[in-house]
Symmetry: C2
Subunit: 697 residues, 2 copies
């Protein structure tokens, strides 16, 4: 079994890498951009769509709001990118928002950011993969019924790629991200040129009627504002993942901060251009989109059976000449690929952040352990499992998942920008160089603006999304926050308890050692346990058995006498046929009588070669061991007996190694009469020698 | 957690019973009949139906065959009951068919019977529960959609009742079985009286047309014979469970054999009367039944939406005046209850047989262990899990399940009767008393006839059922047979290997003991492990650590020197960040250098109070321990450190018990300057004392 598991592991993730290879995995900018920025870049594939979807709820008349919403999103993007360039420069260690907030606003606020980010990384995987699958289905509608399965398979593939290590995954990502950027820019350019030449593209849904919610017929004042704000909240998905670069600074080549800041600028510019282009073209081509496919057909009751196409698919079809054109398939392939791969941003960010949290003892230590390929394997697996589960539960629907999404992003934006303001205040209080002071003043202004704007957006998002599912994300983040505090408290208590205050106090030898050998049958493992127990020279030594079956217990006693084993045997009664409880109670009673002493419990154990053979031997030893470990002042000694079947797997049975081998044959063929006689004489001598009693003190 | 599990267990199965209570669970005949005979008695509820179902495939014209088939079944029942009365007398120990065949035809043939019976016990549970659910749905059609869930819940309830112990379950069963017998006899009597008075009952399906399979339009010769044989095979389900009494003889009150034989006779008579009555009335009332509900409505394409009623339900409705009459509901309630409870026959037989097989070392030992309530709990749970799984897989459909059923019954019938013939042959060869010889001759004739008849039926069943699902039962029985032989071989090999051939050979003390203390950090558990290791006086003692992280390893070395721990520490390199492999390889190398010696590996372990806290501490110790156990010549010593959180559950931390308590305060508050100084002086003394080296030999 273990060998088979190991072989599969090698095929999936490759051979183990030595720790010295760690330096090699640093990223040049041209690989860092697709790895860390594929999320914000690819989110243009659904941000416009979500804006239109919300506005359509008000009626087709309100689609004109889309341009204003888009402008607001672009402005927000600019503020956030500028703000985060300051973060990258000031905190190059990769803690990102978490480190900024923990340092400047205290560890509890830091944990709020950490919890929000962890939730959002999960949502990034779920939403990106779901949207990628949407775009595949837009090109190949027959795959609609496999939506959820496809999404889960993509998550598994991403996990496998990332388990192979960060640099290899970088290569996988570079090509599709660049192809996507090129494709979208080409599409936008073609679309605008056609529009300027008077041949504006027309979306397939341009003529569709949409049944507006009657309540929205004549929106004005507050209702209109709310509609715009809800559309804006949805459009803010374009900003998710912007902080990924700030968390990934240590993975950049040197100079890390500078490279990270320029990568962030490049990402911001590309994202803004693509988002504006797609939104403008969607309005030019009159793309209509709604949650309910029945609306789109224009005739009530006549619902379309094929799934609705994504905005980007409708645009590509309209601009490149239909849904059988090469351009359409190229755009869909690149979009689907980059979206599925965008989830990779989270597969880089989540394990890194959780490893930092584990290092700070807020999460289990295992998340800080690097796997065979130097990636934080446990974090990768955890992310894949949770995101896969979410996709399964929400049937891989972008619209359902997206409400859970951006709350965490803006929580961490707001807190980290506030933290940065505090950081500059502190720096300014000690800095004297006027040039640097001026630069810090500018940075503080930028981060102050960032805090204000993102805080405002956070309030808007909370107000418009909370009841639509965002409350789930809030609950998850709160639970995560409580859990992390609990874990930290546990680790702190443990460390305090284990810290050495006084070497001599713990290093002192126990007053006396009581040896107890557990016996169920008189066979070789028992004799060996007795011999080893004698070799540890305990002050007293006795054998202990439990009388589950009266007849067996009597037979054991007779055999014990017949073999002349020179150790007293004690039989515990067990009217309820239990084994563990009588033994634990007896041992505890011994310990209570002389609490300064130590009780050594020797347990003869079978070791079998095949896992299923374990089912054939009583599991009571395992259970007994775990219970004895809870009893103070008790040491548990396993005296293993390797059954020959384990030999087939390359282990020698201990019976040969320790006992029989020195006579050149296995113990159970040793039946030559002379040999037996000689052994019997020898045994007599041994027994006298090994009689238990107070050892030398 | 364990406390909660324990509380649930007490509620479900009651308080634990002491072993002395075993005698109390013997059964009087009036309880033994419903417990062991509820299966053959209740099978009259579906045997007739299955006969009609098969004949209907040929067309309504062939329903007249039902009376001939029923006569054949009744004759077969008489032969089998007479044969088994001989078995009960000759083999009163409860091995039943298995024991008879193993004794007379050899252990391999015995295992064939055992495998067949185990499979059939599972099928008894599945078919009985499915049929019981069918009868509930006949009365309350709205429950049709919960068919599978209901079946699985009934299996779980049966398991719970049986886990409480055999006598309590007997009381539960007595009432419904007797009510069922009374109800069916009353129904038959009423029906016949009405028929004789010229007011014959008419079934609701009497007028339904049935679309016969066109291929069967004019059956003659071989095809007609095959139809009759298939109907007969299905009708043989009435015989299932007859052997249950022979397997349950030890549960009878004394005189066991005599009581069992009379119970068997009573069962046979009651079953024959009920089966004949129901079949005759079904023909009188013209009950029509088919697998396809569409056929019953008489109009092709117009399928009935309510499920088809069982034969017994149709009869009850026809005889007692409609499906709202008290009589109808009484019969349905009694039938459903007795069918669900009939599965109890298997819940008595399966654990008993598997316990005997476990005693003979053909099955894992756990199946021979009596649970808290003196029942063979593991067998009960295993049966419930497998039968529940089958019901789930086959959607609790009687017709689908029944094809898997009777093959095993007739395999064991045939083999056990053949074995009995051999038994009498052997007895006759030594017996001289003429009266006894005459009795044995009669018995041999009865068993010879039984072997012949059941062998013939076995061939018929194989020929008519194999392709319809019986092959699954054959495969299961063959796999079980192979598994049981494999388990026996494993236990035999183990016993041979562990048997003591020479006491002195194993009792000899090891030449030298090498102590190795595994160290990850310098903290209290480490110091305590070192102290305990010293107390066992090994010949050499060293500390061992693995350098997964270079910096941590250096820090450890510095601390080691700073605390002045007087044991040499060895650092193993681990370029691939593994812990287990370097340690195991090092230990193995030590063992290879001096194979006559023993290596004692001391592992400091944290013990936590809550199971989830285990997730917060590296699990490497557990894995390392299990790997070290495979290494010959190695003893593994767990030196536990109970964290205070475990104290809350009532355990004292070991640090207090063994070390600090004798000074009246916990170690980590021991920070009084004077106390520290005194400790430091003491520590110096200790260290000199405890320096490792060759111990006294």
């Amino acid at each position: 079994m273990p060998k088979f598991v190991d072989a599969v592991k090698r095929v999936v993730i490759g051979r183990a890498l030595p720790s010295e290879g760690l330096q090699e995995t640093l990223l040049p900018k041209r690989l860092a951009l697709p790895i860390f920025a594929s999320d914000p870049l690819s989110s243009v594939a659904y941000a416009t769509q979500e804006i239109l979807l919300v506005l359509t709820l008000g009626g087709l008349a309100y689609l004109y709001l889309a341009s204003w919403v888009a402008i607001a999103v672009v402005a927000l993007m600019a503020v956030v990118v500028l703000s985060y360039r300051q973060v990258v420069r000031a905190y190059p260690s990769g803690g990102g928002s978490y480190e900024v907030v923990a340092t400047n606003l205290g560890p509890s606020a830091g944990l709020v950011v950490a919890a929000s980010l962890l939730v959002d990384y999960v949502m990034t995987v779920a939403v990106s993969v779901a949207s990628g699958v949407d775009n595949i289905i837009s090109a190949l509608p027959a795959l609609n019924e496999y939506r959820t399965v496809m999404a889960v398979v993509f998550v598994a593939l991403l996990a496998a790629v990332n388990l192979r290590g960060v640099r290899e995954s970088g290569r996988v990502f570079a090509a599709p991200t660049y192809l996507f950027i090129a494709g979208v820019l080409l599409m936008c350019a073609t679309g605008f040129i056609r529009w300027m030449l008077g041949d504006a593209p027309v979306a397939e849904s341009a003529a569709y009627g949409i049944h507006a919610d009657p309540g929205h017929d004549n929106l004005a004042g507050f209702a209109l504002l709310m509609l715009a704000l809800r559309a804006f909240s949805s459009g803010c998905t374009a900003l998710t993942g912007v902080e990924a670069i700030s968390n990934g600074v240590p993975a950049f080549r040197k100079p890390k901060s500078k490279n990270a800041a320029s990568t962030m600028a490049a990402m911001g510019i590309i994202a803004v251009v693509m988002f504006s282009g797609i939104t403008a073209l969607a309005m030019i081509a009159k793309v209509h989109i709604t949650e309910n496919t029945c609306d789109l057909t224009g005739v009530a009751g006549d619902c379309a059976t094929t799934p609705q196409r994504t905005v980007i698919a409708q645009l590509a079809a309209a601009i490149f000449g239909g849904d059988h054109s090469v351009g359409f398939f190229f755009i869909q392939a690149a979009t689907a690929l980059v979206l599925v791969l965008a989830a990779n941003t989270a597969f880089n960010g989540f394990p890194l952040l959780s490893s930092i949290l584990a290092q700070h003892r807020y999460l289990p230590r295992q998340l800080h352990t690097r796997g065979d390929r130097l990636a934080f394997s446990n974090g990768i697996v955890a992310l894949a499992v949770v995101a896969g589960g979410l996709l399964w539960a929400f049937h891989a629907s972008v619209t359902n998942l997206i409400h859970l999404y951006i709350l965490g992003v803006f929580t961490s934006f707001t807190l980290s920008q506030t933290g940065m303001v505090r950081h500059w205040n502190r720096t300014l209080s000690t800095e004297t160089d006027p040039a640097l002071r001026r630069r810090h003043h500018t940075a503080r202004a930028i981060n102050g603006l960032g805090a204000l704007v993102t805080g405002l957006v956070l309030v808007i998002v909370l107000a418009t999304k909370f009841t639509q599912g965002a409350y789930l994300a809030v609950i998850a983040a709160v639970l995560l926050w409580l859990m992390m505090r609990g874990i930290r408290r546990h680790y702190d208590n443990t460390a305090a308890e284990l810290a050495i205050t006084d070497v001599s106090d713990q290093a002192v030898l126990p007053a006396r050692v009581h040896g107890i050998v557990l016996v169920s049958k008189v066979h070789k493992p028992t004799l060996r346990a007795l011999a080893y127990a004698r070799a540890t020279r305990p002050d007293t030594l006795e054998a202990l058995t439990v009388a589950v079956d009266r007849d067996e217990a009597n037979a054991l006693q007779e055999q014990w006498d017949a073999y002349g084993i020179n150790v007293p045997i004690k039989t515990l009664e067990s009217p309820y046929r239990e084994v563990t409880r009588p033994v634990v109670e007896y041992v505890r009673a011994v310990n209570r009588t002389s609490p300064r002493d130590v009780v050594s419990v020797f347990i003869p154990e079978y070791v079998v070669g095949h896992w299923w053979e374990n089912l054939l031997h009583n599991q009571s030893a395992l259970w007994l061991k775990s219970r004895l470990l809870f009893t103070p002042g008790v040491m548990v000694i396993s005296v293993p007996w390797q059954l020959t079947s384990s030999e087939r797997k390359g282990y020698r049975p201990a019976g040969r190694a320790a006992g029989a081998v020195r006579r050149g044959e296995p113990a159970w063929t040793n039946n030559h009469p002379d040999a037996e006689k000689a052994d019997a004489e020898k045994a007599d001598g041994e027994k006298a020698d090994a009689s238990p009693g107070p050892g030398p003190s």
